[in-house]
C-alpha cells in the first residue's frame, strides 16, 4: 500500500445508453429469475417490449384437438432436404458438419416420424433473407434451409455448414452467437417448439439477450449442442449432437403411436 489515504469510493459507472454494457447490466439483473422457458417480458431484447403479453398465460387443460398434432409424412419431405450442402452446383464455403439428435417428449418417449425444420446463416453470418443487410458474402451454394422427418427412434439428422455469428441492431455492437433455428412438432399440438441450437463455448453467450432470456443457467445450457467425435466423419465433416425434449404429452399413448409408420396407418381415420 503506497498511500494511507482511503480514496473516495468511485461512483458506480453508468453504462452508456444503447451500449453492450447497458444491456449486459440488464441481463445480469434478471439472471437466475425463475422459469424454464424464456421470459416473454425481457427488456434486454428490445423488440420484445411491445410484443409480449402483459397478462399471465391462462391455464387450461388441453382437450380433443389439442391432444393431437398435425401429421407429416414422406409425401411432405424429400430426404435430400436434410442435406443443406447440396442445393447449389458446388460446395458451400465453411465447416461442413453433421447435426443430429433425438426428439423426445417430457416422458422420454421418442417423437417418431415428425417434422423438423431448420434455417441458419451461412459461414459468414449472412442469411439469404432480403432483410439481412449484413455486408458479409452470400454463398451461391448455400440457402441455409432444411427439413427432415425424425425416424422411429425420434432421431433427426442434418448435414450443413457451421453458421457464423452475425450483428443485429438490438444495441450498438450487438452480435448473435452462432446458431441454427429449429422448428419442432410433437405428438400434441401443445408441444410445438421453435428454438435455436448453439455451439459449445461461444464467447457471445454472456452478451446475447436472446440466449440469456432463458434466465436459468442449467436451462439455457440445454440449447447448446455438444461436439461428438464419434459423429465426426474422417476427411468429411465434424459432428454435433443436440437432443431436444418437448413438453410432456398429455395424451395417453395409443397403440398406433408406436407403429413405425403411424401416419400412413391412420390415413383411414380422417374425415
Amino acid at each position: 500500500m503506497s498511500t494511507p489515504i482511503t480514496p473516495e469510493p468511485a461512483p458506480e459507472p453508468v453504462p452508456e445508453p444503447g451500449s453492450q454494457a447497458e444491456v449486459s447490466a440488464e441481463i445480469a439483473a434478471l439472471d437466475g429469475t425463475p422459469g424454464r422457458q424464456p421470459r416473454l417480458d425481457y427488456p434486454p431484447y428490445r423488440s420484445s417490449a411491445l410484443r409480449h403479453p402483459t397478462q399471465a398465460l391462462h391455464p387450461v387443460d388441453p382437450e380433443g384437438l389439442e391432444l393431437w398434432a398435425p401429421v407429416f409424412g414422406r409425401r411432405d419431405v424429400d430426404p435430400l432436404e436434410a442435406d443443406l450442402t447440396i442445393g447449389g452446383r458446388g460446395e458451400p464455403i465453411g465447416e461442413r458438419m453433421i447435426v443430429t439428435g433425438r426428439v423426445v417428449d417430457g416422458a422420454g418417449r421418442p417423437v417418431r416420424h415428425q417434422l423438423v425444420e431448420v434455417w441458419q446463416a451461412n459461414a459468414g453470418g449472412r442469411y439469404v433473407h432480403q432483410r439481412d443487410q449484413h455486408p458479409a458474402p452470400l454463398d451461391p451454394h448455400f440457402t441455409g434451409v432444411g427439413r427432415c422427418l425424425t425416424d422411429a427412434e425420434g432421431t433427426y439428422r442434418f448435414t450443413t455448414i457451421k453458421p457464423g455469428p452475425y450483428p443485429w441492431r438490438n444495441h450498438r455492437n450487438a452480435w448473435r452467437p452462432a446458431h441454427i433455428h429449429f422448428s419442432l412438432f410433437g405428438t400434441d399440438f401443445t408441444q410445438r417448439l421453435v428454438t435455436q441450437m448453439y455451439f459449445p463455448g461461444d464467447p457471445l453467450f454472456a452478451l446475447d439477450p436472446i440466449y440469456q432470456a432463458v434466465t436459468d443457467p442449467a436451462d439455457r445450457a440445454r440449447l447448446v449442442a455438444t461436439y461428438d467425435h464419434d459423429l465426426t466423419q474422417p476427411e468429411w465433416a465434424t459432428g454435433y449432437r443436440w437432443d431436444i425434449v418437448l413438453t410432456g404429452s398429455h395424451r395417453t399413448p395409443r397403440e398406433d403411436d408406436v407403429e413405425p409408420d403411424h401416419a400412413e396407418h391412420r390415413a383411414g381415420d380422417a374425415r
Binding site: R36, R51, H52, D61, V71, R75, E117, R131, E264
Partner: protein, 192 residues
C-alpha cells in the same frame, strides 16, 4: 444394505427452452399454398383471417400464425400432405406469415368442433404462444366462462366475408394466450 431399493422411475427430462423465431424465417417456414387448407373458392370453403398487433396497436409484419383444426365432421385429421398439398386431402393444418400490414388468412373448412387452435410466432416474441379461436356461435365452455369479458378476445366474428379474429400481443383487448401445462399429468408436466 438391508432391502433392495425400489426401482426409481426414470427421471423426467427437462424441456428444451424455446427461442424467438427471429426475423429470418421466411425462406424456411412458409411453403406454397401453406394457408390453403382447401383450394380458394372450393365448395364449403371459408376464409379465417385477422391481424397480429403489438402493444401500440401497430401491425406485426414479421409474425407467423399456424392453424390446427378438426374436419367439418369434428374428427381430428391425421393425414400427411400439408407441405405438398394435392388439392384434395384436408390435413387440418396450415401456416401463414403476416404481410406488411400484419394480416394473415387461411382458406379452410368450417371445423366440426367449437374452436380452432392457433400458434403464434414473431420476431420480438421470445417463445411461441398458443390460443383458441372460437366460432361466432360456439356456446360458452368452461374456458370462456372463466375468462369473463376477456373471452371476447377468443371469439371470431363473421363479417360476411368470413371469420375474423385479431391477435393482440399486448394492451387493451390483449388476446388470452393459453398455458396447457399447468395441470398436466404428474411426471409428464411441461412448463409451457
Amino acid at each position: 444394505m438391508s432391502t433392495p431399493a425400489a426401482p426409481k422411475p426414470a427421471p423426467t427430462p427437462a424441456p428444451t427452452p424455446g427461442q424467438t423465431v427471429g426475423p429470418f424465417f421466411h425462406d424456411a417456414l412458409p411453403f406454397p399454398r401453406d394457408r390453403e387448407l382447401v383450394p380458394p373458392g372450393s365448395p364449403g370453403s371459408v376464409v379465417l383471417r385477422g391481424r397480429v398487433l403489438d402493444g401500440a396497436g401497430e401491425p406485426v409484419p414479421d409474425a407467423l400464425v399456424e392453424l390446427w383444426q378438426t374436419a367439418p365432421d369434428g374428427t381430428v385429421v391425421q393425414q400427411p400432405g400439408s407441405l405438398r398439398r394435392d388439392g384434395v386431402t384436408f390435413t387440418g393444418w396450415g401456416r401463414c406469415a403476416t404481410d406488411g400490414e400484419g394480416r394473415w388468412s387461411f382458406v379452410t373448412l368450417r371445423p366440426g368442433t367449437p374452436y380452432v387452435a392457433l400458434t403464434l410466432l414473431a420476431r420480438g416474441l421470445l417463445d411461441r404462444l398458443q390460443t383458441r379461436a372460437y366460432l361466432p356461435d360456439a356456446p360458452d365452455d368452461d374456458l370462456l366462462a372463466a375468462l369473463g369479458p376477456r373471452a371476447a378476445t377468443l371469439r371470431c366474428t363473421d363479417d360476411g366475408d368470413g371469420l375474423l379474429i385479431d391477435l393482440r400481443l399486448q394492451g387493451e383487448h390483449e388476446t388470452v394466450f393459453l398455458d396447457h401445462s399447468a395441470r398436466a399429468a404428474p411426471g409428464v408436466g411441461g412448463t409451457h
